[in-house]
């Protein structure tokens, strides 16, 4: 009995690697510590009432933000481990299997479990406030989305201590990801982690499209909507068109693995290249899904900190909406080397070059907004200014890659690695960081410390160039991605060492940012006005942190930067004070069902991963029962009485 138990454990848990034993111990200790603190300070009820059951978009946004920072840490540690392994030739820090697992989880985590939730966090934190709404269109669904993401991410992250990490690359190309070459549960963790969180992503896409179309404040025509909300709209259109492709593609991959189907197999009529074709139909729009909201953030930040109206608002709208469609016509450039007809290659090379145009338009718009503005170099603006040259270089190397004959040389080399890290770090990470610094006071009521932030900023920026510029050169010198080691005679050692130093600098930048957050919780400058940056849009018209119902009175919008108009009219005395009439506010009730449903999804996912049908069945039955329960819930909303609104506003210094 004991023997067979030990045998089960050595099969179930990942064994044999001291790094992983260390991780197991630290996970166990962290969990014990969390349970201990929650029990000691009697916070379980608080956790359940205030966070696990919340449907408030601001709290959901904060939870997305925390989760994404944790995932940034995990993905960052993966990156550092890889760079240590590559720092010198013939190093044996990681063995090849472990290296494969780490580059796989690094990519998947950074895109799907770091960039996506950080983006959804910003959507949640900002969009309803910008639109003058009291919540998103479907608050319950919003909570479902978050918890599905969270449990999907946990399922994925579990793989490195239980069962073994996926190790077939971040997109799990077959035939490598088929049973024949990747037996065991690793690839299934990849499939089900993404599948479960993907349902949440799709629901968020729908939720924000409806919010933007239906819940704007009176007077806010679509063409008067703030630029960030436009970029969210564009991103959500891409989400609802692209994510179903991902879901179907990896469901087919799972059928190949679980049911012995032959969609992407080498034999039996399958075609592995069809998987590449399908996954990049999602994968290419996906990079625009994450980067377009960053463009929206830059537009808001540039206008605020240059104290000027955004230059070329209409062309900006046209550019983000154009990208939403164009992004669906470039996918084949990810596998030019597959070999296909010349006309296919020509078509996709040209569309890839074309898609650089709308982005170029935006860069000029930002520059012209800054031109002759009174720029104040606060943290959000610093990241925006750092973004522009970085993204321009990243975009230019992208156009180099789009030249199909040359791509045969660049394909899968470190040149490509440097290119996409430059657009993803320089565009997405810098953008989201700018957004977090910009909207942080609105969510938490205090600013993040400038001095520690400057350390973080410079370490990130210098570290970035030190890390990735050598990789362009390494690509030209013949180094291809996914090498776990190389010899002294290749001549790659000095550039690789420099690159590793850069990775550590970025890691140090992240440490400073964590320190900055912890320091600012206590010492950060408090925001008492609700408008710390002299902002232009509606979210700055309410107190910080925003009360749970957002707007005591729904604003009447007349112009694009409506809050700026109000401030200007007040300054020159033309503002007409309208009589304020408080009314009871209609709000959604908290619910524990999203959390419970997601726990069942997790159980089902775990069953699917291990191909334990009984467990998957229990999980799915639980999912349907929670749906059933929700269908018969009629008491889902309530009204906040006028007295309570008046009291809350008074405590925030606003008298009605």
């Amino acid at each position: 009995m004991w023997e067979s138990f030990l045998e089960f454990c050595s099969w179930f848990f990942v064994t044999g690697d001291p790094l992983i034993y260390g991780a197991m111990v630290s996970i166990a200790l962290t969990m014990v510590a969390i349970v201990f603190v929650l029990t000691k300070y009697k916070k379980w009820g608080w956790l359940w009432r205030e966070w696990l059951t919340t449907v408030d978009h601001k709290k959901i946004g904060i939870m997305y933000l925390i989760a994404s920072l944790l995932m940034l840490f995990r993905g960052g540690v993966d990156a550092i481990l890889m760079r240590v392994q590559l720092a010198f030739p013939n190093l044996e820090f990681l063995h090849s299997d472990h290296y494969n697992a780490i580059f796989t989880t690094h990519g998947t985590i950074m895109i799907l479990f770091m960039a996506m939730p950080m983006m959804f966090g910003l959507f949640n934190m900002v969009v309803p406030l910008q639109l003058g709404a009291r919540d998103v269109a479907f608050p319950f669904l919003n909570a479902v989305s978050f918890w599905l993401f969270m449990f999907g991410a946990m399922l994925f992250n579990l793989s490195f201590v239980i069962g073994g990490s996926p190790d077939a690359g971040w997109l799990s190309y077959p035939p490598l990801s088929q049973n024949e070459f990747s037996p065991g549960p690793g690839q299934n963790f990849w499939i089900w982690g993404i599948q479960i969180s993907g349902i949440g992503s799709l629901a968020t896409g729908i939720n924000f499209i409806v919010t933007i179309l239906k819940m704007r404040a009176p007077g806010m025509k679509l063409m008067k909507m703030p630029m960030f909300s436009w970029s969210v709209f564009s991103s959500c259109i891409m989400i609802i068109l692209a994510f179903p492709i991902l879901t179907v593609t990896i469901a087919l991959l799972y059928l190949d693995r679980f049911a012995g189907a032959h969609f992407f197999t080498m034999d039996g009529g399958g075609n592995p290249m069809m998987y590449l074709n399908l996954i990049w139909m999602w994968g290419h729009p996906e990079v625009y899904i994450v980067v377009v909201p960053a463009f929206g953030i830059f537009s808001e930040v540039v206008a605020t900190f240059a104290k000027k109206k955004l230059f070329g608002y209409k062309s900006m709208v046209a550019a983000v909406m154009g990208i939403a469609i164009l992004s669906f016509f470039t996918w084949a450039h990810h596998f030019f080397t597959m070999g296909t007809s010349a006309s296919v290659i020509a078509f996709f090379a040209i569309t890839t070059m074309l898609i650089a145009i709308p982005t170029g338009v935006k860069v000029f718009n930002w520059l012209f907004t800054m031109y002759r503005g009174k720029i104040s170099f606060k943290q959000p603006m610093m990241w925006t200014i750092a973004f522009i040259p970085c993204f321009v270089v990243g975009g230019a190397t992208g156009v180099m890659l789009s030249v199909a004959p040359a791509d045969y040389q660049y394909h899968n080399s470190y040149f490509l690695i440097a290119h996409f890290h430059q657009v993803l770090i320089g565009g997405v990470v810098f953008g989201y960081l700018a957004g977090i610094y910009y909207w942080w006071p609105k969510l938490f009521g205090f600013k993040l410390d400038e001095k520690l932030g400057a350390w973080g900023f410079w370490l990130w920026n210098i570290g970035f160039y030190v890390c990735f510029m050598p990789q362009y050169a390494l690509g030209f010198m013949g180094m291809t991605r996914r090498y776990y080691t190389y010899g002294w005679d290749y001549g790659w050692e000095s550039l690789n060492l420099v690159s590793t130093v850069g990775a550590f600098l970025m890691g140090a930048g992240f440490v400073f940012q964590v320190w900055q957050i912890l320091y600012s919780i206590k010492h950060g400058e408090r925001d008492t006005t609700g408008d710390p940056w002299n902002g232009r849009t509606l979210e700055w018209s309410i107190p910080s942190p925003a009360p749970f119902y957002n707007f005591a009175v729904v604003p009447q919008v007349k112009e694009t930067d409506d809050f700026w108009r109000v401030k200007e009219e007040k300054a020159n005395g033309t503002y007409k004070e309208e009589p304020v009439h408080l009314e009871p506010i209609h709000m959604p009730k908290n619910s524990g069902l999203p959390f419970i449903m997601s726990v069942f999804w997790f159980i089902a996912g775990f069953g699917f991963v291990w191909e334990w049908v009984w467990m998957a069945a229990i999980g799915m039955i639980g999912v349907f029962l929670t749906m059933w329960a929700r269908s018969f819930q009629y008491d889902t909303d309530y009204y906040v009485p006028v007295d309570e609104v008046r009291r809350t506003e008074a405590s925030l210094g606003r008298v009605y």
């Binding site: 409806v210 239906k214 075609n271 074709n277 139909m281 209609h586």
Partner: protein, 105 residues
């Protein structure tokens, strides 16, 4: 929260039990036919391809009418616009895949 303060919208029809059951049965039948045809080939290869395609289109129509309520809603203009965009992308996915992959068969 959508449509709050506008309770009249609750009166709008979201389909009856009957239409849901019909839709459910139709979509299952339309899924099973291609599966059976592939597992026990009755027709020639081309005929099987064409049958699968027809089943897929019918499935699409069933989903739109029985579950997506394409005929209902306050502003059918939005439905038409999104339908056109969706069809455009679906045609790109299918047509593009055939175009790209045909070279390798």
């Amino acid at each position: 929260m959508a449509n709050h303060g506008n309770h009249s919208s609750h009166a709008e029809s979201h389909g009856s039990l009957k239409s849901y059951v019909i839709g459910f049965i139709l979509s299952i039948v339309l899924t099973v036919i291609p599966l059976v045809l592939v597992m026990n080939p009755l027709f020639s290869k081309t005929a099987t391809y064409i049958t699968i395609m027809i089943m897929a289109i019918l499935q699409f129509v069933v989903q739109l009418f029985f579950f997506m309520h394409i005929r209902e809603g306050e502003k059918p203009r939005w439905n038409v616009q999104t339908l056109i965009l969706g069809l455009f992308i679906v045609l790109t996915i299918i047509g593009g895949s055939i175009w790209i992959m045909a070279f390798n068969v």
